[in-house]
């Protein structure tokens, strides 16, 4: 991809057939080298896992693609029907794994509630919640995590988190991604398959994943693609419209939480352009014109992109050794 003089959504246009073949070849090459027979995909009913599944089918065929449906207590009611629509549509086998009991046994839900109660003591049965991070777009205020709670009467309130509460909430919810990955590896091991990771470029670049959870995988087929490109690929591959039009959600908290209010400052099509701009040194004025933001807003978003890279760099790092073990090289 090259940076053309007219910067805008078309800058992210791809040759979708060629890209599908390139990704398919990479998947096949990896499996050949790893001496594995197929791929496991955790299906969330979202765009990224759906496209990843469609790409595995394109690369390997439905008979070498295996899906997992793993909703839990906080999942949206529509999650399971949407994730099943993908395995049905592309014709590959899948199973439902009920992970709520495993999560409960690990204390995921009780530890979560306990952490929320550190800032909202009355929080308990019948309440819902989510954590949010104010957008960087409109002012230069440092982003401080807050918890939004809803009592059984439907009244919502917002509370700044303490460090202990914030870390406790994140640690408890991270059980969800890690238990799912544990199940993926169970099925990958029994089938002699690989696991797939489903982050798009925004998520991969900005560290929007759980280390040793959804961040762990043998192959990440769309980690190089901007989310706009993932949507384009979804249409090209025939992903059902209900999934292509579903709003992005983390599907992790009991209150509906968009990715924008938790992590990204802007809708994905604008974040893509800002990230592309940072990656290709596109002048801020051009990014502002393409996104409808002011130059000052673009500067804040760009600074936040760099800040997230610094903050989440460790998520990408392999374990640190005191010295190289030269005999072990990949």
């Amino acid at each position: 991809m090259t940076h053309t003089t007219t910067f805008g959504p078309d800058t992210l246009a791809l040759d979708l057939a060629a890209e599908t073949e390139r990704i398919s070849q990479t998947i096949r090459d990896y499996l050949r080298g790893a001496r594995r027979k197929g791929a496991v995909i955790a299906l969330s009913g979202g765009i990224d896992s759906s496209v990843t599944a469609a790409l595995c089918v394109a690369a390997l065929g439905p008979e070498r693609t295996f899906g997992l449906h793993m909703p839990e207590r906080a999942s949206s009611p529509e999650t399971i029907s949407l994730s099943r629509s993908i395995s049905d549509h592309f014709g590959f086998d899948s199973v439902l794994e009920e992970i709520a009991e495993t999560l409960a046994a690990a204390g995921c839900y009780s530890r979560y509630d306990e952490s929320v109660r550190k800032v909202v003591p009355e929080y308990g049965e019948g309440w819902k919640s989510k954590i949010v991070l104010p957008s960087v777009v409109d002012d230069g205020t440092l982003r401080v995590y807050q918890v939004v709670v809803e009592n059984p009467d439907g009244e919502q309130s917002s509370h700044r988190l303490t460090t202990e509460a914030y870390l406790g909430i994140v640690a408890a919810t991270n059980f969800k991604q890690r238990v799912r990955k544990m199940m993926e590896y169970y099925h990958a091991d029994r089938l002699n398959y690989v696991t797939t990771g489903t982050p798009n470029r925004l998520e991969y670049d900005q560290g929007f994943f759980v280390k040793l959870g959804d961040g762990s995988a043998d192959v990440k087929p769309i980690a190089h693609l901007y989310k706009t490109q993932v949507y384009a690929l979804a249409e090209h591959l025939g992903v059902p419209e209900a999934i292509r039009t579903r709003p992005s959600t983390t599907d992790t908290y009991t209150l509906e939480q968009s990715q924008e209010e938790f992590y990204f400052s802007l809708p994905h099509h604008l974040m893509d352009l800002c990230l592309y701009g940072v990656n290709h040194d596109v002048p801020e004025e051009q990014v502002a014109e393409a996104t409808g933001l002011t130059v000052e807003q673009v500067r804040r978003v760009n600074a936040d992109i760099e800040q997230k890279r610094r903050t989440t760099g460790y998520l990408h790092q392999p374990p640190v050794l005191v010295e190289d073990v030269a005999e072990i090289q990949y």
Partner: protein, 87 residues
């Protein structure tokens, strides 16, 4: 600048973020965020430290880089909050 406040802040930064390595202490005007010393969790820790150590409440509107982003900014902010409290 209030040197006592600055000294207290440096001690907190050295202990909490630098594992006691004072050679990595940023210059007073350097950004704690851009140098990678604190992140979003570090901001929460910093707010709690200010509230506990200096006995005032950090309002949401005050969590701006000018107040919390550097040692000199923090020193000015703490001094200003203390002056408001004393008035």
């Amino acid at each position: 600048m209030d040197t006592q406040v600055t000294t207290t802040l440096r001690a907190f930064i050295e202990e909490s973020y630098l594992f006691g390595d004072s050679s990595r202490m940023p210059a007073d005007d350097e950004s704690l965020l851009e140098t990678g010393i604190i992140d979003s969790t570090g901001v929460l820790e910093l707010i709690e430290f200010l509230e506990e150590e200096f006995g005032f409440s950090v309002e949401d509107t005050e969590t701006v880089p000018e107040n919390l982003g550097s040692i000199s900014g923090l020193t000015r902010y703490v001094s200003s909050k203390r002056a408001q409290g004393a008035a």
